[in-house]
């Protein structure tokens, strides 16, 4: 029974990774950049929601909405100010390093505003726990909400990308930016929209992450950010279902590794599995294999 309970915990943690990875993967697909600051947007989202809850005693749902709004605006501003000028730079590394700079900036801004001490997050999820198998297996409300949220977000995104005009514009830009522009797609607006959606989702991920693991510091976002990046690559970067499945697999491997092997080397196991997957499938589980034309 403990195995199933670990598995469920893994899916829950993996769902959070998946939501973050969705942001990574969309931004990568469309702007062709690794947004290293994405993890820190999560942290900003969590701090914003926490401040609204404790400082203003706000309604939790409203707080989450405002948190999402804040991160959305933040994402758009970051893209406009720091990334857009480098879109046509001679090396794609330039924007990567700038993203690292933005990551430092967000961490240190949070450090100044909120301090270095660990804040304990208030769990806003009121959904009751479910007891199964004569009480041997308990699934917490947080877990249920996290998994459902993740599923809803993924389905919503899939519908958005495939069925709506801006969504299809995103697809077009990710296939071929130049051609999309010639076909009348507003590339700047589409990239902004991608950052807006990715960052808004990061706020949700922040709340869910901190509800399950309620300690918040300016560096909280960094490691989940990296893990989500791994998850995105794992599933095939640029693919929405890939990010989802990559995230969940990663969560499961991490929790099972912690439970059955060693909590200290759980991360090493996660990374080792990633390496093996990439060696067998060099573009991730769902990645498209693009061959160079000679």
């Amino acid at each position: 029974m403990s195995f199933i309970s670990y598995l469920i915990n893994g899916i829950s943690l993996g769902s959070v990774y998946a939501i973050i990875a969705l942001g990574y993967t969309m931004v990568y697909g469309i702007a062709k950049m690794l947004n290293f600051a994405h993890g820190d947007v999560i942290m900003i989202g969590a701090y914003t929601v926490l401040t609204l809850l404790t400082g203003a005693g706000m309604n939790p749902y409203l707080a989450v909405l405002i948190g999402m709004g804040t991160c959305t605006v933040l994402g758009i501003v970051i893209e406009k100010v720091a990334y857009k000028p480098l879109r046509n730079a001679s090396s794609s590394l330039a924007v990567l390093i700038t993203a690292i700079g933005v990551s430092y900036l967000l961490q240190n801004t949070a450090l100044l505003i909120f301090g270095a001490d660990t804040k304990s997050f208030i769990n806003i999820i009121t959904c009751p726990s479910v007891s199964l198998a004569q009480g041997e297996l308990t699934i917490t409300g947080t877990t249920i909400v996290t998994i459902i949220t993740c599923l809803v977000i993924m389905c919503g995104l899939m519908l958005f990308v495939n069925k709506t005009k801006p969504g299809r514009a995103m697809k077009a830009v990710s296939e071929d930016r130049g051609a999309a522009q010639l076909m009348g797609v507003n590339v700047n607006a589409t990239i902004s929209l991608t950052f807006a959606i990715g960052s808004g989702l990061a706020a949700v991920a922040g709340v869910l992450l901190c509800s399950a693991y309620p300690s918040l510091t300016p560096y909280t976002g960094a490691m989940p950010g990296i893990k989500a990046f791994v998850a995105a690559v794992f599933g095939g970067i640029g693919s929405i279902p890939g990010a989802m499945i990559g995230g969940i697999l990663l969560g499961i491997i991490e929790i099972l590794g912690k439970a059955y092997i060693s909590s200290q080397v759980a991360d090493a196991i996660v990374f080792a599995v990633l390496i093996i997957v990439l060696l067998v499938k060099p573009t991730g589980l769902f990645g498209k294999n693009i061959q160079e034309k000679v």
């Binding site: 290293f36 480098l86 730079a89 690292i100």
Partner: protein
């Protein structure tokens, strides 16, 4: 006189000579400041780390700039070099004269890191671009994680290994634990000095600059510029990519040795992906493929936080803003155009004044 010599050299020799001279001049100036007591103790403490970062940066530039592959796991190789050499130094203790032991430690650090470079390079170099980057990051983290749970002790029976704790080493009571898991290695002799650091920088420069301007360096850069064309003229891709990767790893190992022998306690904390990324920042900021530039960037970005120390809480914030601003200034096409325009204007004005 010196200017005349510089004029007669060809472009690359000239550029290389300037690089070596720059290191020498900075060394002499710093030595002068140290002997006259004109340098704060804080800065003095930074001298060896500066050398560590410079070596790490120029060695990473060999992979990122010359070989054209993004590596996010450079700190992993530093970690391997640091641990191997510190383990050796503690193990040998006073059985060897200090200088000989340190030279051997450097060679061991470089060698073990090179072996890791080859072992990791063989699978990794099959991948391309961002996938390669994420796998190097993964390897760096794995190395850090494994070092964190490694226990090694020694007693009359020889060496004992464990990955759980000190107790499971099963050692005789008189045994000595050398690597203590997360607590790392303590009691490493403090052999690193600024002078040795600078000598190692010069050696690293010698190896990298000479490699770049040789047949192998040309092959490495040809692969970077066009993989298929390089193969079509008979250049063995795997061999040369692996060569760049392992030489870079070996030199990162040397940086690790220098680091380990500068402090008496060595833990893995310093070798996480943040350090790998920091070194990458030096490389990109200093100019990808520009060895001298990455040295200068490493020095500026290591000294900057110390200079900003007076601003206490704001210093890292300012550091971040400076980093973003410098990246935009150096790389944004609009900034490059703007700079070119200003340059042309100044040139015009000077010419008019000359008339």
């Amino acid at each position: 006189m010196k200017m005349n010599i510089l004029k007669t050299m060809n472009k690359t020799t000239k550029s290389n000579t300037i690089t070596y001279l720059l290191v020498a001049v900075v060394y002499l100036v710093v030595q002068l400041l140290v002997t006259t007591g004109n340098i704060s103790s804080l800065m003095k403490g930074l001298l060896v780390p500066l050398c560590v970062y410079v070596i790490a940066a120029i060695s990473l530039n060999l992979v990122v700039g010359i070989s054209g592959e993004l590596s996010l796991g450079h700190a992993g190789f530093m970690c391997v070099g640091a641990y191997a050499s510190a383990f050796f130094s503690v193990l040998v203790g006073d059985a060897l004269p200090e200088m000989l032991r340190f030279i051997l430690a450097i060679l061991i650090g470089a060698g073990v890191a090179a072996i890791f470079g080859i072992l990791i390079g063989i699978p990794v170099l099959k991948l391309r671009g961002d996938y390669l980057a994420i796998v190097t990051l993964a390897f760096g983290e794995i190395i850090k994680n494994l070092m964190n749970v490694m226990y090694v002790g020694r007693d009359a029976d020889g060496l004992h290994f464990s990955v759980t704790d000190t107790a499971s080493l099963n050692m005789a009571p008189d045994g000595e634990v050398i690597i203590k898991g997360a607590l790392g290695i303590t009691g490493t002799p403090k052999n690193s000095t600024f002078t040795i650091g600078v000598i190692l920088i010069l050696i690293a420069l010698f190896i990298i600059l000479n490699l770049i301007h040789s047949r192998s360096g040309r092959a490495i850069m040809a692969i970077r510029d066009n993989r298929i064309a390089a193969e079509s003229v008979g250049i063995n891709i795997t061999k040369y990519k692996l060569m760049a990767f392992s030489i870079s790893a070996a030199l990162a190992g040397v940086a690790g040795v220098l680091y380990a022998h500068n402090l008496s306690t060595l833990t893995v904390k310093k070798f996480d992906y943040n350090t790998s990324i920091l070194i990458l920042v030096f490389v990109v900021l200093g100019g990808i493929g520009n060895i001298r530039g990455s040295m200068i960037a490493a020095v500026i970005l290591t000294v900057l936080p110390e200079v900003l120390r007076g601003l206490s809480d704001y210093r890292m914030l300012i550091y971040a803003i400076v980093l973003i601003a410098m990246m935009l200034f150096n790389w944004a096409p609009s900034a490059i155009n703007w700079r070119a325009k200003i340059k042309a204007k100044i040139k015009n004005r000077n010419m008019k004044e000359a008339e």
